[in-house]
């Protein structure tokens, strides 16, 4: 046992020497860390939920149109000035405009038809359009003093988990998991290159002509890959200040994530015949694996097929820990799923490398 440990230790020490002396590995690791940390801190850490809207109302603004409840109104003297503010040609710019016709108050009180123009920039989300229309209708009812069509109906909001109303998940929070995931992926490239170099240079043959077993070689690569990936990802979560949100669950998640990318690194390194080959295989894995981290950026649940991707459990666990304060018990499902993928991918990586070594 101690002899095996000595051999594995010797290979790990050798790999560390090679890793630190290769400018490429060092550069992409340091560069990745610095860039991701810098980008994270440059991203906005809060979401401004106030909706700015321009109003054209002939005469003084009614009391019902005062600012509040997340709405901020900018009055305009004419419909033309409001349109200019919407299309960007005016001095002031607003994304939404409400152009009330002359005699709006009288019309709604008299119950005669009238039309309010809702002006929008092209990039206003669809849900805002509906919200503005509803707002105008509600305003009309308020001004007319009439009841809303259904007065008996009431709704109660039940937030399952932490209520983030008024404290929405910021872009910084959304991008954090993506940066962590990409930091792990960088190690996929590094490990793949390390493995491929051993195969191409046939140094693995020289190693296996000594009392080193194939299992020792594979164990050393797995340990070095997982340790480097985990270490760098852990350093990143410390530097971007999210480790404190759930240290235990984050450490477990990163460890599993490191095992996952190491498995992919072993496959890419064993399969790619040269650097371009490694990049090709790594990219082939990278694109689908990155999808869950992009899915986090958009509201709503991820599509069912995204949920079965190997990296989904990793991203889901990081997001739910850092943004919603979930713990190990809450995340048992995604973490088990991630662990399952780790076993599959890691086994596939070891199998591919063993096959490659056997055919040298």
């Amino acid at each position: 046992m101690s002899r095996r440990a000595g051999i594995i230790g010797a290979i790990i020490r050798k790999d560390l020497v090679e890793f630190t002396r290769d400018r490429f590995y060092v550069l992409i690791t340091v560069f990745g860390l610095v860039i991701y940390v810098a980008m994270y801190w440059f991203l906005p850490s809060s979401v401004d939920e106030t909706i700015e809207a321009g109003i054209h109302w002939q005469g003084g603004l009614p009391q019902e149109l005062s600012d509040g409840d997340g709405l901020e109104f900018t009055p305009f003297d004419s419909a033309a000035a409001l349109e200019a503010a919407i299309d960007g040609s005016g001095d002031v710019s607003v994304p939404i405009g409400l152009d009330f016709p002359a005699g709006f108050t009288e019309s709604v009180r008299a119950g005669t038809p009238t039309t309010v123009r809702v002006l929008l920039t092209t990039d206003v989300p669809a849900e805002y359009r509906g919200a503005m229309t509803s707002f105008v209708r509600e305003l009309a009812f308020l001004i007319s003093g009439a009841d809303l069509p259904v007065t008996q109906l009431d709704t109660t909001e039940v937030i399952l988990g932490e209520d983030r109303a008024g404290d929405q998940v910021s872009l910084q929070e959304k991008m954090g998991p993506m940066f962590v995931f990409f930091m792990l992926l960088i190690e996929t490239f590094a490990l793949a290159t390390l493995v491929a170099t051993e195969i191409q240079a046939r140094t693995v043959t020289a190693v296996l002509a000594t009392p080193t077993r194939v299992a020792d070689f594979l164990a050393a690569k797995a340990i070095i890959g997982t340790t480097l990936a985990f270490g760098e990802a852990l350093l990143l979560v410390i530097l971007i200040g999210i480790l404190g949100t759930g240290p235990l669950v984050l450490i477990v998640t990163l460890l599993l994530g490191a095992l996952l990318v190491t498995g992919f690194g072993l496959i890419a390194g064993s399969t790619g015949k040269d650097f371009i080959g490694i990049v090709f295989w790594s990219m082939l894995f990278l694109v689908p694996l990155a999808i869950p981290s992009f899915a986090v950026l958009f509201p709503g649940s991820a599509a069912p097929w995204v949920r079965v991707l190997p990296s989904y459990g990793l991203i889901e666990s990081i997001v739910r820990t850092t943004s919603y304060g979930d713990g190990l018990t809450d995340l048992a499902g995604p973490l088990l799923e991630l662990a399952g993928w780790c076993v599959i991918v890691f086994a596939a990586g070891l199998f591919t490398l063993r096959r490659k070594v056997a055919t040298l």
């Binding site: 002899r3 000595g6 051999i7 230790g9 010797a10 290979i11 020490r13 050798k14 020497v17 090679e18 002396r21 290769d22 240079a201 046939r202 140094t203 043959t205 020289a206 190693v207 296996l208 002509a209 000594t210 009392p211 080193t212 077993r213 040298l360």
Partner: protein, 286 residues
């Protein structure tokens, strides 16, 4: 009688439909250098891979130092040294680090690599990365690496291929020293002169089969043509004749040639190993 360091019997290996090694049998005694001669693809490297535990034989038996391969692979690998044809060094590591790393794989802690580095004339460049070494220096480091565990059996695959005369000479000297120390040496080479000078016995391998195995001198005497080339000058013209020593009446012909007026030169000619290989295989070594 001394037990052979290597005993190979009925060895067979095929890559799919292509037979690489076919019923190969031989022995190598401790302190003996066996030269493996054959063209590319003859089966030399595959045979060495099986003897060093990198490939499992599909048929036949290999015994090294009384232990069977692959059953006792690790124990055998602890006693052997291998110098590969490919310069498979860790180029980002120094010469010294390469040796120390491989020593650790043999379970040798605290190896002092300096004597080995001095032996291959790399002591002054020991702390330079192998990437900065010349081809000859890398090859010498490969040889040094194969000696870190003081092997009882040494496998050397084309150890002097493409090297300058100085590096080749240094490596040949080391091979001879190792054999003198008692190590059994299996040497594959394309270089006939090297095989002739170094090997106690040579094995001709072609298309996976051993065609002949014996001492170079014995092979040359048994299979090579011997002759004497005589050049003389008569009436301003140079005449040349070749007298075969294998036929009848050779003695009389030589006496007559020596007595010829205007004798310029007499050269004895004997077959090279390559000539004999061609006789066996019907083709050259390259």
């Amino acid at each position: 009688m001394t037990e052979p360091a290597i005993r190979v019997d009925g060895l067979h290996y095929a890559f799919g439909a292509n037979t690489a090694v076919d019923d190969v049998s031989f022995t190598v005694a401790p302190g003996e250098i066996l030269g493996f001669l054959g063209p590319n693809g003859a089966g030399k490297s595959t045979t060495i891979k099986m003897m060093t535990g990198l490939l499992d034989p599909q048929a036949g038996t290999i015994t090294v130092l009384g232990m069977s391969m692959p059953g006792e692979k690790e124990a055998i690998q602890a006693e052997i040294g291998v110098c590969f044809e490919e310069k498979n060094l860790y180029l980002n590591m120094t010469g010294r680090e390469n040796l120390v790393f491989f020593a650790r794989l043999f379970g040798i802690k605290g190896l002092d690599p300096d004597p080995l580095l001095r032996r291959v004339d790399l002591f002054d460049r020991a702390d330079d990365r192998a990437a900065d070494y010349s081809k000859g220096m890398r090859q010498r480091l490969m040889v040094a690496r194969s000696l870190v565990n003081r092997p009882r059996v040494l496998f050397l695959d084309e150890p002097t291929d493409g090297l300058d005369p100085v590096s080749s000479l240094a490596i040949r000297r080391i091979i001879r020293e190792e054999a003198d120390r008692g190590a059994a040496v299996v040497l594959t080479t394309h270089d006939m002169l090297e095989a002739d000078k170094l090997s106690d016995r040579v094995a001709f391998i072609h298309e996976g089969r051993i065609l002949a195995i014996d001492a170079p001198e014995t092979l040359k005497l048994a299979h090579g043509k011997r002759s004497v080339r005589v050049r003389s000058q008569r009436g301003g013209e140079v005449e040349e004749s070749v007298i075969s020593l294998d036929g009848d009446g050779a003695d009389d012909e030589i006496r007559r040639a020596v007595g010829v007026e205007g004798l310029l030169t007499i050269h004895t000619e004997e077959a090279t190993l390559e000539d004999i290989f061609i006789e066996f295989a019907g083709r050259g070594l390259r």
